[in-house]
Amino acid sequence: MSRQTARAGDPRKVNGELFTLTYGALVAQLLRDYEDDEEVNKQLEKMGYNIGVRLIEDFLARSNTSRCNDFRETSDIISRLGFKMYLGITPVISNWSPAGDEFSLLIENNPLSDFVELPEGHTALNYSNILCGVLKGALEMVQMDVDVWFVQDQLKGDNITEIRLKFIKRLDDAVPAGED
């Protein structure tokens, strides 16, 4: 019972289906506007990026985590805290590269693509590309430059949805004028 009231009282929570359908409407509108899968992917990533740079502040404020020591810890936090907090899922981390700078997030049931069926002729579209942007934007704010891309997508008939992250470099704090 207390859970019910807590949910009703938390303005941050919205109905999951409403969220999924809103996202679907957004992607459909983008497809109508741009008429090109690649361009839509780009726009989704850009939107995600802008979400990510703000979302990270909310994440830090709510989770009170400190800086990660290595990329493995980062991957753990992303899946166990980040995805859990905002999408209610915990992706499985796998396929580490030998150097430890690349991993995959395996998503079994992506809430963004509930109810979705890709129509014919949209093989290049990464429907949930907004997630790539969010991850990139959020990690950039904590001084990590990463590449994020879709490898597999259940919408395209793959067994699982796979997002790959590659660590590129650490971004340094800005040095004030006149110092080195």
Partner: protein, 145 residues
């Protein structure tokens, strides 16, 4: 106990917000100069503290103290820096600074799409919430004599 002033710097060293309460004496230089001086000092002290530390440090630079005031420093992993000057009786302000970040900055700046994150904060709502919060703190209660 009292609180003198408060700064927020973004990761690029831009002063996003400055507010003062019981500050009796000004530094005698322009505010912009003061911000620059403050950021430069924090930057240097942070790298100094990290370099000189005999062991791996967890939190790094937290505060410094003179005979008259204490400067408290809190940095989020995203590089936002919150600075507060208080008198000596205030004790650790770390939790307070984190609270300002999570309940005021994130709520009224980050979640306000009209606020640009790398420009000084113009939002009146943010300023009034901050002022209200600071004034409600127990450490704010008594004025300096």
């Amino acid at each position: 106990m009292t609180i003198f002033d408060f700064y927020i710097f973004d990761r690029n060293g831009t002063c996003l917000c400055y507010a003062e309460w019981n500050r009796k004496k000004q530094s005698g230089i322009s505010k912009d100069e003061e911000y620059k001086l403050m950021y430069g000092m924090l930057f240097s002290i942070k790298s100094f503290v990290n370099r000189i530390s005999p062991t791996d440090i967890k939190d790094g630079f937290l505060n410094f103290k003179t005979s008259k005031y204490m400067l408290h420093f809190y940095e989020t992993p995203s590089g936002l820096k919150l600075i507060m000057n208080t008198d000596l009786g205030a004790g650790s302000m770390r939790d307070v600074l984190h609270q300002i970040y999570s309940t005021i900055y994130v709520e009224y700046v980050v979640k306000n799409p009209l606020c640009e994150l790398d420009k000084p904060i113009l939002s009146e709502l943010f300023k009034s919430k901050l002022d209200e919060f600071i004034r409600s703190l127990p450490v704010f209660a008594s004025k300096v004599s």
